[in-house]
Amino acid sequence: MRSQRPFVIEALTAIGLIVAPFVLPYLDFTPTTMSRIVVWGLFGIGFDILYGFTGLLSFGQSAFYGTGGMVAAYLLTIVGFPRVVIAVIVGMIAASIIGYLIGLIALRRTGIYFAMITVAIAEVFYFVEFNPLSEYTGGENGLPGVPTPTFPLGFTTIHIDTDWSLYTFFAFWYLVGIVIALRIVRSPFGVIFSAIRDNPLRAAAVGHNVHDYKLAAFVIAAAYAGLAGGLLGVLQGFMPPEAFTFDTSGQLVIQTAIGGAGTLFGPLVGATVWLYLSDFFQNTLHLGATWKLVLGIVFVLLVCFLHRGLIGGINDLYDLAAGRGAAKVEPEAPAAFSGVTAEAAQKAAPIGFAREPAPPAMPAASRTTNDFSGPILRASGLTKRYGGLLANSDIHFTVNRGELRGIIGPNGAGKTTLFKMLTCEVPPTSGKIMFEGRDITGMNVTDVCQLGLTKSYQVNQLFTRLTVRENLTIAALAERRGKFRLDMLRRVRKIYGLTEQVEHTLELVDLTAHPDKPVSALPYGEKRRLEVGLALACSPSLLLLDEPLAGMSPRERIEMVDLLKSISRGRTIIIIDHDMHSLFELVERVTVLQEGRVLIEGTPGEIKGNKAVQEAYLGGVLAA
C-alpha cells in the first residue's frame, strides 16, 4: 500500500461512498446499479486477496457467492428468521466453512490445476443447487421474498426499503469489508500472501507454511463471496440461482482484471465499468445481446495491452508524469571499476570499501533445542538416486558448531543435491540427517527452516516484485511468528523485534542504501547479497550457502567475501563455491566431493596439496 499514514485510504473510501449518490446519478447511474456495483465490489475484495495478492486465480467463486446467498435467503424466507443482518452473517460463515473444505481439495495443486479444479467444483455446486437440493434452494426458481432489513431501536424502527437506503446499507458493508481487507493486507498475512504469489518455493524455504496461508486466503475469499451473496438476495428481494453459474465467476474475474488485480479497489472499479457499459450498450445504444461481444473484445484488448488493469494503468501514468518511470533502471556500478582486474580491486579494497565496521553478527535465534552439545550436523550414509543417476552415494558428513566449512568439487559432483537433502528440499533415497541431535530426515523444508537450518540458493530465489525491505521482512516474519499464525488483523510493524531484525540484516548485507527499491531493479551483486540476506534474516543456527560468489564481478566478489567473513562470527556455515581462492581464505575445513562421493576432507592447506583433488580437477592445476 502506498500510503503510510493510517486511515487515509479508509477515510477516502468512506467519503467516496458518501459522495457517490450525489454525483453518479448525473451520469445516469441508478441507485440499484450503484448497489449492484458495491455488492460486486465487496465480492471482489476477497477474490482480489486470493488472486491479486496470493496469486491463486479461481474460476469458481460463484460456489461461495451462491452458498452464502442461499443460506441467508433460506433462513429469511423458508425458516422465517427475522434478522436480515444475522442471516447474512450466518450465510457468510457457511460459505467460509464450505470454502475451507473446498480449499483442502483445490489447494492440493497449484497453477492451472487449481484453476481447473475450481471451475469443476463450482459446476458441481450449480448442479447440486438445481437438483438434489432444489427443495431448499428453489431449484431453477431461486428463493423469492427475501425481506429488506429493519432495525428496531425501541422508540422507532428503521426500515431500509428505499433504493437509496439500501445503497447506504450496502455501502456500509463495503466500507466494513474494505477496512478489514486493508488490515489484512497490512498484517503479516499481506506480506506473506505476496511472497507466495511471487515465489512460493522460497516462501516455504524461509519457513512459512505456504499451504495454510493459501488456505487462509481461500477462506477469506469465500467469506467475502458469502457475504456478498447474502447481500445480493437482499438487493434483489430474491435469491437467483444464476449466482451459482460459471458466468458469475467469469464476470468477477473480468471485473477484477479490468479494474486491476492486487489493488483491493480494482473489482469495484471494474464492476463500475462493466455495469455502466452494459447499461449504456443495452439502453442507450440498443445493442441488445451484442453488448457482451463488445465487452468481451474490450476485455481481451485490456488483458493484452494493459496488464495491470485500469488502476495499474493510472498508477503507471502517474509515475510517468511524476518522472519516476525514468528512475527505475539506474546503472549501479560506478564506471571507475569497470576495467579493474581482480588483483587491483583487491588491493583497492581496504580503501575503497572502508565501510563501517560490520555490525556484530546477529545471534542465531535461541531455540529450545540449543542445549545439544554434539556436532550441529551429522549426515550418515546419504544417498540420492534420480532414476538411474546416482547423484549422491553414501555420504558421511559431520559439521561442528561454530565451524566454517567449505565444499568443493567439479561440476556434477553432487554438491547442490547434498544441500537439497540437508535442507530437506528433496528426501534422500537412503541415509539419515541429524541436526542438533534431532533426526530431520523426511521432514519438510519449512519445518527444518523453523528449526534453524536454511540455505541461500545457487540461482537467486527472491521475491522480485517486492522491495528489499519486504523481502527481508518475509524471512524475518517466519522466524518471529513461526510457520503459521492467525494474526491477520495485526500490523506488521507491531511485531516485537521484527523491525530491528530487518534493519540489522539490511546493515549486515549492506543494502541500506535503497531498502525500498523493488528487487527487480537491483544490480546482480546486490541481488546476490539479498539472497544471502534472506537466509540470514531467518536467524539460522546452521546456514548453507550454495555458490554465493557465482556470477559475480571481481568487485562484487570482494564485497561478498567481506560480508561472509562478517556473518560467520558466532555462526555455523557451510559454503559451496567454485572460487577456491576466496573459499580457502574463508573456511577452516574443506570437504571435496567427486562423482557423488566424499573424496577427502581436510584443512585448506591439506586440500591444496592433495594429489587426488588435483586429479579430480582436470590436469591437476588449481584454478587459483
Partner: protein, 291 residues
C-alpha cells in the same frame, strides 16, 4: 432395481461420450503440454466446430463436407489465434494466459450468438447412418455406433501423428522440454503454431461429429470445457494416454450416474476427481513436477 438392458445401453452411451471426451481432452492436453498454455477457449472451439460444420451442411447438405469444414475452420482459427495473440503470452504469467483465453472464448461465443442467434441448430446424421441397429442383445442408434468408430479413428490418427511421425516426436519432445527442443535448432514457434492448430482441430472435429447427437447452441462448449477439465485432472495434465483414459472414466461416470439420478452425475464426477487428487495428485497417468 437395476434395469439391465437400460444399464447396458448406458454403458454404451458412456463409451461414446468417453470417446468424445477423450478426443477433445487430448486436444487441450497436447496444447498445454507443449505450449504450457491452458486454453480456456477450448470449449468455445468445440462449439465453433459445430457451427462451422452446420454452415457447410446448410450449403452443401453433405455431412462429410461439414466435418471437413468444421475441423479445418477451427484449425485455422487456432493457428491464427496462436500467431496473433497467444504467442505474446508465453512469457507472461499463467494467470494472464487464462484471462486472455477466457476472454477469447467469450468473444467466440458472443460472435456466434450475434451471427446465428441463441436458438439451437441441428445437423442430421448422414443418410446411411440414421435409425437404429440391432446388436443382438439390444438396439442402439446407428449414428452413435458409427460415432464410436469415427472418434476411434480420429484418436488413432492423433496417436499415429504424435507417436509415429517425426513432427510428433518433436511435439512429444516439446512436451518434455520445449526449451531444449528450441536449442536443437528446431523452430519451436512453428511447432507451437502447428500444435495449437491440431489441438483446436480436435475440438472442432468433436464439435461437428457430435452435432447429430446433441444439437448445437452458442454456449454448448461451457459444459464440455468443465468435463474436459475433470478428464485432464483425472488423467494427468499434458498426458495424451491420460486424456484418453480419463475421458472414458468420466464418460462412464456421467452415463451410469445419469441412469440412476441425472442430478448427481456432476457430484460423482467431482468425487472421482477428488479421489484422484488425494491418491494420485498428478493424475492417473501424469508425471510429478508438471504444474
Amino acid at each position: 432395481m437395476i434395469n439391465w438392458p437400460n444399464f447396458v445401453s448406458q454403458v454404451f452411451n458412456g463409451v461414446v461420450l468417453g470417446a468424445l471426451l477423450a478426443l477433445i481432452s487430448s486436444g487441450l492436453t497436447i496444447i498445454y503440454g507443449t505450449l504450457g498454455v491452458l486454453n480456456l477457449a477450448h470449449g468455445a472451439m468445440f462449439m465453433l466446430g459445430g457451427y462451422a460444420g452446420w454452415v457447410a451442411y446448410t450449403y452443401t447438405s453433405s455431412f462429410i463436407v461439414a466435418v471437413i469444414a468444421g475441423s479445418l475452420f477451427v484449425m485455422l482459427v487456432g493457428v491464427v489465434m496462436e500467431r496473433v495473440i497467444i504467442r505474446h503470452f508465453y512469457s507472461r504469467p499463467p494467470e494472464d494466459q487464462l484471462l486472455v483465453t477466457f476472454g477469447i472464448g467469450i468473444v467466440f461465443v458472443e460472435t456466434v450468438r450475434f451471427l446465428f442467434g441463441s436458438l439451437t441448430k441441428t445437423v442430421p446424421p448422414p443418410s446411411g447412418l440414421v435409425g437404429i441397429t440391432p446388436l443382438g442383445f439390444m438396439f442402439y442408434p446407428t449414428y452413435r455406433l458409427a460415432l464410436l468408430g469415427i472418434v476411434a479413428v480420429a484418436l488413432m490418427a492423433l496417436y499415429i501423428a504424435l507417436y509415429r511421425t517425426r513432427i510428433g516426436m518433436i511435439v512429444r519432445a516439446g512436451i518434455e522440454d520445449s526449451v531444449m527442443v528450441g536449442s536443437l535448432g528446431i523452430d519451436v514457434y512453428k511447432v507451437f503454431m502447428l500444435v495449437f492448430g491440431i489441438g483446436a482441430m480436435a475440438a472442432g472435429f468433436t464439435g461437428i461429429v457430435n452435432a447429430p447427437v446433441v444439437s448445437i447452441a452458442p454456449d454448448v462448449g461451457e459444459a464440455i470445457l468443465v468435463q474436459t477439465f475433470v478428464v485432464i485432472v483425472i488423467g494427468g495434465v499434458g498426458s495424451f494416454p491420460g486424456a484418453v483414459l480419463g475421458g472414458f472414466i468420466a464418460g462412464e461416470i456421467i452415463s451410469i450416474t445419469s441412469m440412476l439420478n441425472p442430478g448427481y452425475s456432476y457430484v460423482m464426477l467431482f468425487v472421482a476427481m477428488t479421489l484422484v487428487l488425494v491418491l494420485r495428485p498428478y493424475g492417473l497417468l501424469g508425471t510429478a513436477g508438471r504444474e
